[in-house]
């Protein structure tokens, strides 16, 4: 798939469907046909197509459908698509389109190997958290939300990733603390608290200003309905209390 012209065309079509807001007014070919579909649905389906490309989908990516998979295709797809996705997120006007773009972004980064992601952490961190905040509003996005949070926790484990996170700690702390109370999935709450435990190792000057906020949230998390979350909250609270 690398460098293949048809792949680029497919990508451009998907972006067109995802980012076009109002089909009735657009002058794209086949817009009469497309006018029958509501554009948010179409937009979301185009975004979900990214997950089919990036995950190893046996049903679609096989020889029968003329898909030839070359090594490192995910990394190449990620690098070619990243700039377009980031600029679409910034430029999108309607909330539906922005939502779908966040979905596409989420699918791409949760399936890209971590080595490729680590090269671009500075660009990724803030959009990643905007994506998490946007997805957490709807309970249907559980699985995607969890995969993106796992990506963040893998970034936290690497030194290059840590530097990018440390610079933005004051911005990402609020969405992360909100995820500690995400009501629809226990694993999301647990992983968010584990990320906070890892963040307690950061330089003292960066994390001391947010210490009180974290302790307040952990105090409430001690009463979480699920036992694993409570146990993580105890650990997190102890770590953050000892940094004084």
């Amino acid at each position: 798939m690398c460098g293949h012209q048809k792949m680029k065309d497919i990508m451009m079509v998907l972006f067109k469907y995802m980012l076009t807001n109002n089909w009735a007014e657009s002058r794209l070919p086949n817009s009469d046909v497309m006018g029958n579909f509501t554009s948010p649905v179409l937009s979301r389906s185009a975004a979900d197509a990214f997950s089919i490309i990036m995950s190893d989908s046996d049903a679609c990516l096989n020889k029968k459908f003329h898909a030839m998979i070359r090594p490192l295709y995910k990394q190449r797809f990620f690098s070619s698509v990243l700039t377009i996705l980031l600029s679409s997120i910034k430029d999108s006007n309607s909330s539906d389109v922005r939502n779908s773009t966040y979905h596409a972004f989420g699918h791409v980064i949760s399936n890209t190997p971590i080595a490729a992601l680590l090269l671009e952490t500075k660009k990724l961190i803030l959009p990643l958290f905007e994506c998490l905040s946007s997805l957490s509003a709807d309970c249907k996005n559980n699985v995607l939300l969890y995969s993106i949070l796992l990506v963040f926790s893998s970034i936290l484990m690497e030194n290059t990733g840590k530097c990018a996170v440390i610079e933005n700690v004051h911005i990402i702390i609020n969405p992360l603390l909100e995820l500690a109370f995400y009501p629809y999935m226990m694993l999301v709450r647990e992983t968010a608290i584990q990320c906070l435990v890892a963040m307690s190792e950061f330089p003292h000057a960066r994390i001391y200003p947010i210490r009180q906020q974290v302790l307040k949230v952990m105090h409430k998390a001690l009463d979480d309905p699920k036992r694993p979350v409570r146990l993580e909250a105890v650990r997190c609270r102890w770590r953050w209390e000892s940094i004084a």
């Binding site: 226990m186 009463d223 309905p225 105890v234 102890w238």
Partner: protein, 156 residues
């Protein structure tokens, strides 16, 4: 502190099996009530002030001696000092109280008591351990706080 240990040769028992995490998909919305096993998990690894063993290994705390009522927000822990004249009983009791204070939601009332008949000055130790003001005053003493933190470190 005098040179000799209170109990130079404690009996060490084997550790009990720990509860493993359920691997199958759990129901997201049912509440896991706080039970005596969870309280025991919080306190079993607290280190004895004198020896490098945990309170579970020395059978100072046992799961059967913990009473929990999640509906009434009440926890009672009975602990058994290893010898009758153990002067570490107050420190052990204080460590238990601090650990549970930091690990349970604030709605819980916690009572820490010496198991009946196992200590010479049982009544006085119980009185000290369950008086909020005396506990707060004790925790303001930096040496005592350091000792408690050292005992609690392995339990997190």
């Amino acid at each position: 502190m005098s040179g000799g240990l209170i109990n130079a040769n404690p009996t060490v028992y084997s550790k009990q099996e720990r509860r493993t995490r359920k691997t199958k998909a759990e129901d997201e919305y049912t509440r896991d009530l706080i039970d005596s096993e969870e309280i025991f998990d919080h306190i079993r690894d607290i280190k004895d002030p004198e020896h490098p063993y945990s309170l579970e290994e020395l059978k100072v705390v046992r799961e059967n001696d913990i009473e929990v009522s999640s509906k009434q927000d009440y926890v009672r822990v009975n602990f058994t000092p290893t010898v009758e004249h153990c002067s570490m009983a107050t420190i052990i009791g204080l460590s238990l109280r601090v650990k549970l204070m930091r690990s349970l939601p604030s709605r819980f009332k916690v009572d820490i008591l010496v198991a009946p008949g196992t200590h010479a000055t049982e009544a006085s130790v119980n009185k000290q351990l369950n008086d909020k003001e005396r506990v707060a005053a004790a925790l303001e003493n930096p040496n005592l706080l350091e000792m408690v933190d050292e005992c609690l470190a392995p339990s997190y």
